[in-house]
Amino acid sequence: MKLAYWMYAGPAHIGTLRIASSFNKVHAIMHAPLGDDYFNVMRSMLERERDYTPVTTSVVDRNVLAQGSQEKVVDNIVRKDREEAPDLIVLTPTCTSSILQEDLQNFVARAQLDAKGDVLFADVNHYRVNELQAADQTLQQIVKFYIEKARKVGDLQTQKTDRPSVNILGVTTLGFHNRHDCTELKRLMADLGITVNAVIPDGASVEELKQLPRAWFNLVPYREIGGLTAQYLQTEFQMPLVDITPMGIVETARCIRSIQSVLNSQGEPVDYEGFIDEQTRFASQAAWFTRSIDCQNLTGKKAVVFGDNTHAAAMTKILAREMGIQVVLAGTYCQYDADWFRDQVSEYCDRVLMTDDHTQVANAIAEIEPAAIFGTQMERHVGKRLDIPCGVIAAPVHIQNFPVGYRPYLGYEGANQVVDLVYNSFTLGMEDHLLEIFGGHDTKEVITKSVSTDSELNWSRDGLTELNRVPGFVRGKVKRNTEKFARDRGLTQITAEVLYAAKEAVGA
């Protein structure tokens, strides 16, 4: 047992559901007790999704505990198949079902007999993998299933496209700024003269999967999700893969150069150097911005970076290499992939931290006292407590990290967004300091002067207690209304009773 207040990566089934619900016409059925369908709330709220989340539950209750699921799971799969006619139903195990040890694979086989669509059992172990690993595995499992199926019926398409083309792997629902990144990557590919053969899983249909081998190569923008699929396609079809995250000016260039060499090796004589140079120096603002005198102020400022592998590594490199900021500590919660992270960042930071315990991160931050933090929502809250500004660069995130406006983190526009984020975090910190040195805004007194401070009315102790329970931002209004109420009625003593009578009378 472990005492835990907070976690960075969710449980395994969340990863599977993120993959399933990213595809078009794929439905997930969780084998779980009532209340475990919290994923639907997150998707509906965070992504402000207009459609019903294609996830339902085959409820595990007392009866299931006593007698096993029996026909229930099969019935639920067949019912969903009839109701919504999805192409694929993914039966998703949860922590509960993994201890029940029912033969879910067998239910899938039986349901397949009656279902028109395909049925698949997501093979993830709740106690061994987390959300990100499960997502990576499920994506590979679905791709493999449809490649093999296409092979069997003989309509696998292995003929390469005429022009260079790419599969973008690993763009998912509830992924940090994934939608915007995907748009930016498509733009970048268009600029490079590369056709996008498929984007999976986001918005893809499983029908498209048999066409994956047509692409000239696979691009895996995120370290956490898509790697296994790309490796599978490499083994099966010798498809080259580019797994450099194009985040920041330098890494974007490195990614493009890698694409160039992949295409060159397949006989396409592209040369992207001119494009890179044009983008870096003139089209994008990031390189110039970091060179401008304003950014000199950031030189040697201390920062702490924490997040998932992809974003924490890229951010560390941007801060250290592109902006001259001292990254005192770079950390990740992807401990299962810690070697990769250490390898990526060790030359760009003073110290590397691998942990999924948020208190360790918080303690490190408190000890270092950096000028700014770049982390998850948890680090943002740590920053709030310690009065250190924080830019959010990785999941887990809140609703405000699913902006409506265009905010990619990848590609050249992404680089612009990142420098803005960095700069704004630091200037806010400076402003704060100046305010502190000069004792705050000098206009404070005038603004907060309360209208009802000098009244002859007498608040009793219980009245005051109740008043203090009113949320701060309306307390003033409630106080004024209550006093007005008391004055109108000639009361001199304001008790709790008077306060609530006033509330009822004026509705405040």
Partner: protein, 469 residues
């Protein structure tokens, strides 16, 4: 007087569906209970799934150093390679050292049920060893929905209430005495109690966790009738649990507390006052009247008071009059809310509800029937353990003016031009007593006011016609 036992009026139609609906896991009760019981610590013994739910459902509260935590079970716990007792002891000693609470509440989850972890057996031993009371509540998704979590916790606490016939109230151990000393002089916020003005009646204890301002208001409300409360479960501190004795009266303020009610009656031999719940001015009045009737008191000035409240919220009631409201069902407040809204002039075609205790909610169901008759509207269909998919088909057919639903369905319904209100807000908002009438109506009418304001724009449906459910 115990709960109404005679069968409910046959007029109400009760259905039961598949139970495939969205609701919160009952462990969510820790979110409001740890804030209500100030000296408690809630330990949820479960998996990452439970933790993930809590962390996401609680939003920002999680960052305020909450007095709750997960005892996250690992593979070794599941396969019994680790000893439950030793593991729990280690964690509870940590909690004692860091927080020193007056009570640790263990929340059993689905996982502890399935692996049959004997929490009730371990707790007394550990309690004796570390010297902190340990209350066990099995608030799991196998058996319960959302607010029923509070029911399991309060039912467990009923047994911890001191015995009023012994004095002084139960021999408290040293640590609690120290705790009391520490609390001395700190926020003793009970309403000034003068004995004058109270009628002599059998002691009455209320149960149900409501925010402190609601406690004050309902206490004052009863005081006006000369009724003095002997206590409230839960109190602000665990060390202040009300004393109970055989023959005491108890009454619930929330519709989801049937296990707690049973515990009062069976375990502590209290008499239950089965009344409608004090939600809405009609409910509040009926609640007070029922309590008065049982205690033999003639209620004073309630009719005027109710009329006054209705008059003061007429502007909001106007928005509701004639509207149809559909409850998908997820928090067990549905019947009381529907009854209140029908009184406001709405029609309610369907009341979805996770679980219906016709005995505990008997008086509320009777008031619902009576309200429908008086308002001249059809009786709603009450659907226990609803099926969300079927409900959505019914919603499409009925096209109600407002759907009260969980967050999983709210945005998709809005995108299809159907007004929705998140049901969860009613759980966290102050909805009890005369004084909260405006607050409930404020919530209920908010989507109507917002969407009314945007109506001119002609953007009602924001999904393409081809996307069907």
């Amino acid at each position: 007087m115990t709960a109404t036992i005679e069968p409910n009026t046959p007029a109400l139609q009760f259905d039961c569906e598949t139970g495939n609906y969205h609701t919160f896991c009952p462990i969510s009760c820790v979110a409001w209970l740890y804030q209500k019981i100030e000296d408690s610590f809630f330990l949820v013994i479960g998996t990452k799934t439970c933790g993930y739910f809590l962390q996401n459902a609680m939003g920002v509260m999680i960052f305020a150093e909450p007095r709750y935590a997960m005892a996250e079970l690992e593979e070794g716990d599941i396969s019994a390679q680790l000893n439950d007792y030793a593991e729990l002891k280690r964690l509870c000693e940590d909690i004692k050292r860091d927080r020193n609470p007056s009570v640790i509440v263990w929340i059993g989850t689905c996982t502890t049920e399935i692996i049959k972890m004997d929490l009730e057996g371990i707790a007394p031993k550990l309690e004796a060893e570390i010297g902190i009371p340990i209350v066990v509540a099995r608030a799991n998704g196998l058996d319960y929905a959302f607010t029923q979590g509070e029911d399991t916790v309060l039912a467990a606490m009923v047994q911890r209430c001191p015995d009023a016939t012994q004095q002084p109230p139960a021999a408290v151990d040293d640590r609690n005495a120290i705790q009391k000393l520490l609390n001395f002089g700190k926020k003793k916020e009970e309403i000034q109690e003068d004995e004058a003005g109270y009628v002599n009646h059998q002691p009455l204890v209320l149960f149900g966790s409501v925010p402190d301002p609601i406690v004050t208001q309902l206490t004052l409300e009863l005081k006006r009738q000369g009724i003095k409360l002997a206590g409230w479960l839960p109190a602000k501190r665990y060390t202040e649990l009300p004393a109970l004795a055989e023959g005491y009266y108890a009454s619930g303020v929330n519709p989801f507390l049937s296990r707690t009610a049973t515990a009062f009656m069976r375990r502590r031999k209290c008499k239950l006052i089965g009344a409608p719940f004090p939600i809405g001015p009609d409910g509040t009045r009926a609640w007070i009247e029922k309590i008065c009737a049982v205690l033999g008191i003639e209620p004073q000035g309630l009719a005027e008071r109710e009329a006054q409240i209705w008059q003061s919220v007429e502007d909001y009631v106007q928005l509701i009059r004639g509207k149809s409201i559909f409850f998908m069902g997820d928090n067990l407040l549905e019947v009381s809310m529907a009854r209140f809204l029908i009184r406001c002039g709405a029609t309610v075609p369907e009341i979805g509800i996770p679980y219906m205790d016709k005995r505990y909610q008997g008086a509320e169901l009777d008031l619902l029937t009576k309200t429908c008759q008086e308002m001249g509207v059809e009786l709603p269909r009450i659907v226990e353990k609803p099926d969300n998919y079927n409900q959505i088909q019914r919603i499409y057919n009925l096209q109600p003016d407002l759907v009260i639903t969980g967050m999983a369905h709210a945005n998709p319904l809005e995108a299809r031009g159907i007004n929705t209100k998140w049901s969860v807000e009613f759980t966290f908002a102050q909805i009890h007593g005369f004084g909260s009438t405006r607050d409930i109506l404020e919530l209920v009418t908010r989507p109507l006011r917002r969407n009314g304001a945007l109506k001119e724009l002609g953007w009602d449906k924001l999904v393409r016609e081809t996307t069907s459910v």
